[in-house]
Amino acid sequence: MANTEDCRILIVDDDKDICENLKQILTMDGYEVHTVNSVAEARLVDWGKYFAIIVDRRLSDGASDVLIPEIKSQSPTTAIIVITGCPDLHASLKALRQGVEDYFLKPLDVDVLRASLTQIVRTRHAERRAAEAERLAVIGQMMAGIAHESRNAIQRIQTGADMLKLDVSDPELVCHIEKITQANHDLKAMLDEIRDYAAPLNLTRNEVDLSSVWRRAWENVVSVGSHNDANLFENTNNHDLNCSVDDFRLEQVFRNIFENSISACATAPSIQIECFDLNGASVGANDGNIKVVIRDNGPGFAKEIKERQKIFEPFFTTKQKGTGLGMAIVKRTVEAHGGSVAIGDGSASGAEIIISMPRRSNNN
């Protein structure tokens, strides 16, 4: 059982033998089973503690028809299974209309009952997963909204600092203004990362040459960071690198990887990009998958990071600056394209990132 919420069953039947037999069988299956023998006893129980209640249709002090609406009202997520010794089409239809999960005739086929319980557990898990996904989506939208709405405030700080620069000539004060500007820039970068990570990822695919995407990213990283000593070396073997991708999103993927590499390299960062197909040969075919290997001349990843691929976890960082979302964004974006990303196990001493990606959407 996944958790205690999914293992408690209540049996309501005035036939104590049936109660005991079912309890033994279902207990062996791993359920925690409680039994009561009347409507009155059943009403004393906290129904919310049970994921399923198996109830006999005719009890000595009343019918399940009365109990079912009460259970549904007080514990809507508890599944109800009705068992009966009297086949009655109208009664079974009424029970199903009342929202019971299943309706079985005595003598019970225990395997069918077990299958029904298993299905109920699976459905509950799926419902909980969907609710959790919805909750995360709402948090994501909220974070994206906060990140977006703060742009105006950040713009005001920037403009205020720029205004001060017009009047201030004292080097010490100028230095303080520069610190405000830098902090503002860092805040903006952090909120951008949070927004990029949290916002829904809707790809807009364009037919592009992959090398043009990483070159744009490279130019941006080098120019913004003034990394004039950094070098990018390509080995595409003149093969066709056309693919259908969201080039805006993928540019960010390369940018994040390049920025990580450059910040890890103490001096003269040197980054190599090499392309293969997934069988190990260089890319040649127009279809299939592209594998891009990006290596740098930095210190590489620690063994534990490499083994557990930790850099792709959100908020993981070995740097003093940054949110730790950069590589998580890389993973999310590449996976949205149907691809995968991993730390390479190559012999190179620096870091090695391997992106494997289909040239075309699998939905095409």
Binding site: V222, L232, F233
Partner: protein, 149 residues
């Protein structure tokens, strides 16, 4: 544009503090700046007065920036620079398709904003000095970027 002025700028953004700061900065830098805080006010000012360039936000409560942009472009009065908090490529494409002269992302430094204004004024043939280099300047891409090794 008066002889003493570097250019006249219409500013449209619902963030009043920000527009006022822009306005002060541009006035200090030799421009004529008119702040407006609603899309409709911006549109009315555009219809009544003469400006050399407008800087408009793209997300305002009373009218979307794209609507305002479309209206301003249709009037064919002056070039329009979009200063937006939205980084979505489709929004940028739509703004450029509608005829925006530039699409800047918030936060932009005043140097970046002024550089964009100078570029736009230069392109529209006004007697403004040639555009400044971008705030970050241009940098040479690493030597291996286009080669094979």
């Amino acid at each position: 544009m008066s002889k003493e002025s570097n250019g006249s700028i219409l500013l449209v953004d619902d963030d009043q503090d920000m527009v006022d700061s822009f306005s002060r900065w541009f006035r200090r830098s030799g421009y004529e700046a008119t702040p407006t805080y609603h899309a409709m006010h911006g549109l009315m000012a555009a219809a009544k007065n003469r400006y050399d360039v407008a800087v408009v936000d793209i997300g305002m409560p009373d009218m979307s920036g794209l609507e305002l942009l479309a209206e301003l472009i249709e009037l064919q009065l002056f070039p329009v620079i979009v200063l937006s908090g939205h980084n979505e490529p489709e929004l940028k494409s739509e703004a450029m398709r509608l005829g925006a002269a530039e699409y800047l992302l918030k936060p932009a430094s005043m140097n970046e904003l002024e550089s964009a204004i100078r570029r736009v004024l230069f392109d529209s043939g006004l007697n403004i000095p040639a555009p400044l280099a971008g705030a970050n300047g241009s940098h040479q891409v690493g030597s291996g970027a286009n080669g094979q090794h």
